[in-house]
């Protein structure tokens, strides 16, 4: 089995990418939220529960520069999501055998 990194770049309110990824990602995979995908990381938004349900068997990351661009640094993120930079993004791609972008 390949270890997988799932990339989500669409707002969870605007596109079903995150929802489909959470349905289809194999346990042990990682999910990185980038671009408008970072809105899913907000603790108080509607999708926290869906992410919470898979917090035990998936790892979640969010791209810090995209969080800052959208003015979300003053908002609490969901507990357990790690904030990374572009270098961390590269490391995740290296550490997982396959990267799948859900567009």
């Amino acid at each position: 089995m390949s270890t997988m990194l799932h990339l989500i770049n669409r707002s969870p309110f605007d596109a079903p990418a995150l929802e489909s990824c959470l349905r289809l990602a194999q346990a042990g995979s990682s999910v990185l939220l980038i671009e408008d995908g970072v809105y899913a990381a907000l603790g108080k938004a509607a999708h926290a529960a869906a992410i919470g349900e898979r917090m035990d068997d998936l790892k979640f990351y969010v791209l810090g520069p995209d969080v800052a661009a959208r003015g979300l640094e003053d908002k609490p993120l969901i507990d357990g999501i790690s904030v990374i930079d572009y270098g961390g993004f590269v490391d995740l791609v290296v550490e997982h055998e396959v990267t799948q972008s859900w567009m």
């Binding site: 770049n9 669409r10 707002s11 309110f13 605007d14 671009e35 408008d36 809105y39 907000l42 603790g43 108080k44 938004a45 509607a46 810090g64 520069p65 995209d66 800052a68 661009a69 959208r70 003015g71 979300l72 640094e73 003053d74 908002k75 930079d85």
Partner: protein, 129 residues
């Protein structure tokens, strides 16, 4: 008096711009803002609505250095200079995203879904993006 005011069209219509997309992920927010400013410069009766992910456009504290894109959120402050005073944000859209009016970069009128239905139904031209 600006040059266009002298020769500008005399008809005044009610233009409404409905912003439904987040900023930066796509250009629609920025390019819509450019149209809003031009519409105001043409002295039209201009309203701007933020619903759905559009409310994110007004989030305070945007810092875009890290993504290499231009931060255009301060341009919303120019709406006032252009006499665009009808700025509406749907309460339900804020609520769904865990935001309040305090999170926004400019003062807006927060309206109920029912209010917004009525406001939208009073326009002559509606452009949504």
């Amino acid at each position: 008096m600006e040059p266009w005011e002298e020769d500008g069209p005399e008809v005044v219509k009610r233009f409404m711009y409905v912003n439904r997309k987040a900023p930066y992920g796509t250009i629609y927010a920025l390019e819509c803002l450019e149209v809003v400013l031009i519409t105001a410069a043409f002295d039209q009766d201009t309203s701007v609505v933020f619903v759905d992910d559009g409310v994110y456009q007004l989030k305070k504290n945007q810092q875009t250095e890290g993504i290499g894109m231009k931060n255009f959120s301060n341009t919303y402050r120019a709406l006032d200079d252009y006499d665009v005073e009808k700025i509406y944000v749907e309460q339900a859209s804020l609520d769904a995203r865990g935001l309040t009016a305090d999170d926004l970069i400019i003062p807006v009128e927060v309206v109920t879904t029912e209010n917004l239905r009525e406001i939208m139904a009073q326009q002559d031209v509606v452009i949504s993006s």
